[in-house]
Each structure stands twice: as structure tokens, then as C-alpha cells.
């Protein structure tokens, strides 16, 4: 498998002296579905900015499919499609014109540009809006327009900065399906998101960045294996005002009154069940807390800030 993206010792210091990237290394394999996670100000957007030539790096090496961005930026750029977080198209131009114009910037002749624009606007449910000025679109449609624009030159790597920020659940799910389909077709996908559920559901590999440094760069499976405890959500047959004391376990009530039970790796659940039974509490349903990655992420970032340690 070839490398879609290679980053070596990438550094960026802004004019004011702020060091946003402190020498990061990152490799993304061709065909991967990759997430770059980090808190606000961690360096995610700076990294994407350097990859897409919107930010000048201070030093370091970046290559896309083996093409050095310093030596042959034009060729490297043709491999990339970028969907930014903020809407950045001309609000007065028509949807179809925005997409075909973008194809023209990549040297794609008008006839093929129109073909590609038609295909992606139809796939993304925007065909009916093709003659509307972009400012007339809803927020979700604007986001899909940016995806169509990023795909019109048929890139090998699609980079998305917070692609589902501010879109409703239904649309988010349909975008996930679309991105998974693109990935199956062979397009490498790199995204940043603060919906960690999104990264957990979609991505195969994950890097966690904080304060300009990569804290982890591994597969999602291996990352999740590092969780030292797991939280289970238990619905009980009656409402409690405070969580019961369970020997050997830590538990608390969530906002809806369900019992959140933290279980250490290898500890098992039987002890907790026996104690609940003795207390006369019946469990009506049970599930794991969906956002395991979020837990892990918070612990990694806390560790990096010198607080706590939830990882083995």
C-alpha cells in the first residue's frame, strides 16, 4: 500500500510568535479513512492549512502520493480535494457555476467539468438547486456544495475539516454514508471532527494532536484497546435520587436518572449485578456508553496537560 500523505517534522510558527506545530510526523496510507482529532487550538486546522497551501509552513516536509509539495506543488495539489470548515464560496454565484469554475482551476475542459459537476451535484442532492445563488442554500446544502466542489476534479485524497459541524443528525448520517462510499471507491479520506462518535464510526486510523504535537497515531482498534475502563449505562426499574454504593465499582447517575457504571478492564460485571440485586434494584436494560473514543481522547489530552492518567 502506498502512502497518500507523508508529513515529516512539520513546524509552523505564526508571525506573532505562536508555535502552532512543533515538529509533527504523520503518515496516511492510500485508501485509509483517517481522523485527526484534537481540542480547539491543538493544531488541526494549521496542519490542514499547510496541506492545502492556505498556510505557509515554517519548516518540514509534506508529500502527497510521494510528490513533494515544495518541489512540484501543482501536481501534489491535483491529488487533493479540500472541504473547509467555514463556507468559502462566492455567495452571489450560482451553485453549478461554483463547481464548474473550480474544475476549470484544475485545467479541466468545460464539457468534462459540466459532466463531473452534474454527477456530484446529483449524488449530493443539489441538482435541483443548480441555478440558485449559493447564498440561498440551507447550511447543510452549503456544506454539501463544498463537498461537490472538492470532488469535481476527482482527487485521490479528500480532506474535510469538521464536515458535519452544525448539520442535523439525518444529514450527518447521509454524509457518513456518502463518505464511506467514496472511501470504498478508493479515495483516501482525512477528516477532523469534534464529534468523536463520527471518528469512531467511520475511521480506521486516528491521530490525536494537542498543543502542536501528535500524541497518538495508531489504528482505532488499538486505540480503543488502551481504554482501562469502560462505562455501562444501566436503566433501573425505579428512579433514584442518588447512586447506590457498590463495593469495588464507581457509579453515578446521569442527567436522565440512568446509572453509569464504570468497570475496570477484566473486572467483570457480576459483582455489580449481585450488589444491585441485593439492594432490590432491577435492571431493565443495559448498554455501553457509545462514545468510548471521547473518553479516551479526554484522558490523552488531560495526560498531555499533566493531569490524571486513565490509560494503561
Amino acid at each position: 500500500m502506498t502512502e497518500a500523505l507523508t508529513i515529516k517534522n512539520l513546524r509552523k510558527t505564526y508571525d506573532g510568535g505562536f508555535e502552532a506545530l512543533k515538529g509533527i510526523d504523520l503518515n496516511v496510507q492510500s485508501g485509509d479513512f483517517f481522523a485527526l482529532l484534537g481540542p480547539n487550538g491543538a493544531g488541526k486546522s494549521t496542519t490542514l492549512g499547510v496541506l492545502t497551501s492556505l498556510i505557509n509552513k515554517s519548516s518540514g516536509y509534506v508529500a502527497v502520493h510521494g510528490v513533494d509539495m515544495d518541489r512540484d506543488p501543482a501536481r501534489a495539489k491535483t491529488y487533493l480535494g479540500f472541504v473547509p470548515q467555514e463556507f468559502n464560496f462566492n455567495q452571489f454565484e450560482k451553485v453549478f457555476d461554483i463547481v464548474t469554475t473550480q474544475a476549470g482551476y484544475y485545467g479541466i475542459p468545460l464539457a468534462r467539468a459540466r459532466e463531473n459537476a452534474t454527477r456530484y451535484l446529483k449524488q449530493l442532492g443539489l441538482w435541483e438547486k443548480r441555478d440558485s445563488p449559493s447564498r440561498m442554500l440551507s447550511g447543510g446544502m452549503k456544506r454539501r456544495l463544498m463537498i461537490a466542489r472538492a470532488l469535481v476534479h476527482e482527487p485521490r485524497v479528500l480532506i474535510l475539516d469538521e464536515p458535519t459541524a452544525g448539520v442535523d443528525i439525518e444529514l450527518r448520517r447521509s454524509m457518513w454514508t456518502f463518505l464511506e462510499q467514496l472511501n470504498r471507491e478508493g479515495i483516501t479520506i482525512i477528516l477532523t471532527t469534534h464529534y468523536l462518535e463520527e471518528a469512531e464510526a467511520l475511521c480506521r486510523n486516528i491521530a490525536i494532536i494537542d498543543q502542536g504535537r501528535i500524541l497518538k497515531n495508531t489504528s482505532k482498534k488499538s486505540l480503543l484497546r488502551q481504554l482501562s475502563l469502560e462505562t455501562f449505562v444501566l436503566d433501573l426499574d425505579r428512579d433514584l435520587t442518588q447512586a447506590p454504593e457498590l463495593e469495588g465499582y464507581h457509579c453515578r447517575l446521569d442527567e436522565e436518572g440512568a446509572l453509569l457504571l464504570e468497570v475496570q478492564k477484566g473486572q467483570g460485571l457480576n459483582g455489580a449485578f449481585r450488589q444491585l440485586d441485593r439492594a432490590g434494584l432491577n435492571i431493565t436494560s443495559m448498554r455501553t456508553q457509545a462514545n468510548r473514543l471521547e473518553e479516551l481522547f479526554l484522558r490523552l489530552v488531560e495526560d498531555n496537560n499533566g493531569q490524571g492518567s486513565g490509560l494503561q
Binding site: 505564526y14 508571525d15 492549512g49 492545502t52 497551501s53 492556505l54 498556510i55 505557509n56 506543488p73 501543482a74 501536481r75 495539489k77 491535483t78 487533493l80 479540500f82 473547509p84 467555514e86 468559502n88 464560496f89 462566492n90 455567495q91 452571489f92 454565484e93 457555476d97 469554475t101 473550480q102 476549470g104 482551476y105 484544475y106 485545467g107 479541466i108 475542459p109 468545460l110 466542489r149
Partner: protein, 257 residues
């Protein structure tokens, strides 16, 4: 990019620019037509009759080349400064920055858009002037060369202004406080031979004087300055401003962090 791909990208930028200024024609094409018609009526017809001939021509005939040049200058400049700053403001300039289009093509595309509007407005004003006077053409080559070079130079000027601009005020300061006074004092309405010697000398440092006079020479065959030196100056200005603009784009002044 291959030469063919570069050509497609260049044409794409030009088409987008032309589409922009024709879409908003009441803001871009109509105002200079109305303003210049008023100039023709008031200065040419009403006041001009009392002024009498200038350099051997009716006052109306004398001011027409200057007014055409004035509209070319302001329209070329305004197109690039407002379009490029608008793209910076909306961040749609990022569409170009992420693409493989070389900087010199981006620059030529914007300049081509500015020249298209400047020359189209110049043509409109020329056609309007035919309602009020007859136009002879002394040297078509001189007319075309001056119009093309002037619109090229002022499109570049608009580009540099847009690169430095950080707010909307910044794109109106130069046209209001620099371009308009220089144009009015650039011999549009008078021959500098009418001025005292000192002010003639001062006028000679005004670049717009050379453009107006070169164009007037092309149409009427009279000029306050040597037409060839005026063209040479335009080529020099064009070259310097092109290099400066390209350098700003390479550095990403105001568009890349």
C-alpha cells in the same frame, strides 16, 4: 500543469470575472456611461461653447479622449480591487489557492478581467461620445496600444491595492484620494501648455498625463508630451507593477498565513 490546462484555468478566471461585472451591470457599466454623458453635456456642450477651441479643436473634441481614458482607468482599477478584495473578504480566494493554478496565471486572469471591463466601458463611452461629436482616428495603433497598456497598468494597481486592503475603506481610499485628483489634473480638461511653467513641471510627474496625452495623440494627433515616451512609460509602469504584484502573490500577502 500542461500548457493546455493552464490555458483552461486562465480562461476560467477571465470568464468568471466577466460574468461578475456583467451580472452587476447597473453597478459596473451603467454609472460610467451616465457620468460621462453628463460630462459631455455640461463640459462639452454647455461650458465648452464659451471656452472655445483648444489646441485647434472644439473643446468637446479635445476632452473626449481624456474622458474615455478616465473611464478606462477607473473601471479597470475598480474591477480588480473590488473583485479580488471581495474574494478575500468571502474567503473564496481559497478556491484558487488550493488549486494548482500558478500565481502568474491568477494575476493575469484578474488583470484580464479588469482590462475587459475597462476596455468595454471605454468602448461604451466612445460610442456615447459619437452622439455629441464626430471622432477622427489619427493613429489606430496608438489608440489601441494606449488603451490596452493603460487598462493593464491600472488593473495591476487595483490588484496591489486589494492585496494590501484589510477592510472596505481601504479599497476606496486610493481611487478617491489618489486616482481622481491625478486624473483631473492629468490634462483631461485642459492642455498643460495653459499652466504657468512651475505647474507644467509638476504636471509632468503625473503618470496619468502621459496616458491621456498618448490617447489624445492617437485620436486627434496632438499631445503635450512625446507619444513614444508616454508608451515607454506605460510599459515601464506595467512591468514594475507586474513584478510587485507577483511578488505579493508569492508571499501570500494578506491571503496566506
Amino acid at each position: 500543469m500542461s500548457p493546455r490546462e493552464i490555458w483552461v484555468a486562465f480562461v476560467t478566471i477571465i470568464v468568471r470575472e466577466v460574468r461578475r461585472f456583467t451580472r452587476i451591470w447597473p453597478q459596473t457599466l451603467l454609472p460610467p456611461a451616465v457620468t460621462m454623458t453628463l460630462y459631455f453635456i455640461i463640459f462639452g456642450n454647455l461650458i465648452g461653447r464659451r471656452i472655445g477651441p483648444m489646441e485647434g479643436f472644439d473643446y468637446m473634441e479635445f476632452i473626449v479622449p481624456g474622458l474615455i481614458m478616465m473611464s478606462v482607468i477607473t473601471s479597470s482599477y475598480a474591477n480588480v480591487v473590488s473583485s479580488f478584495f471581495g474574494m478575500k473578504f468571502q474567503r473564496s480566494i481559497e478556491e484558487l489557492l488550493v488549486s494548482p493554478v500558478p500565481n502568474w496565471v491568477i494575476l493575469l486572469g484578474y488583470v484580464g478581467g479588469g482590462m475587459s471591463r475597462g476596455l468595454l466601458v471605454g468602448l461604451l463611452v466612445t460610442l456615447l461620445s459619437l452622439i455629441f461629436t464626430t471622432l477622427q482616428v489619427h493613429s489606430l495603433l496608438m489608440v489601441l496600444a494606449t488603451a490596452l497598456l493603460t487598462s493593464f497598468v491600472f488593473s495591476l494597481g487595483g490588484f496591489i491595492n486589494a492585496m494590501y486592503a484589510t477592510k472596505f475603506d481601504d479599497i476606496s481610499i486610493v481611487p478617491t484620494f489618489v486616482l481622481t485628483p491625478l486624473t483631473y489634473l492629468g490634462g483631461v480638461f485642459y492642455s498643460i501648455s495653459m499652466l504657468p511653467e512651475f505647474w507644467q513641471g509638476v504636471s509632468m510627474v503625473n503618470p496619468i498625463l502621459y496616458m491621456v496625452n498618448a490617447f489624445r495623440y492617437g485620436i486627434l494627433g496632438v499631445s503635450d508630451v512625446a507619444p513614444v515616451s508616454a508608451l515607454a512609460m506605460l510599459v515601464l509602469f506595467g512591468t514594475v507593477l507586474f513584478v510587485v504584484s507577483l511578488n505579493l502573490l508569492h508571499k501570500g500577502k494578506g491571503i496566506r498565513h
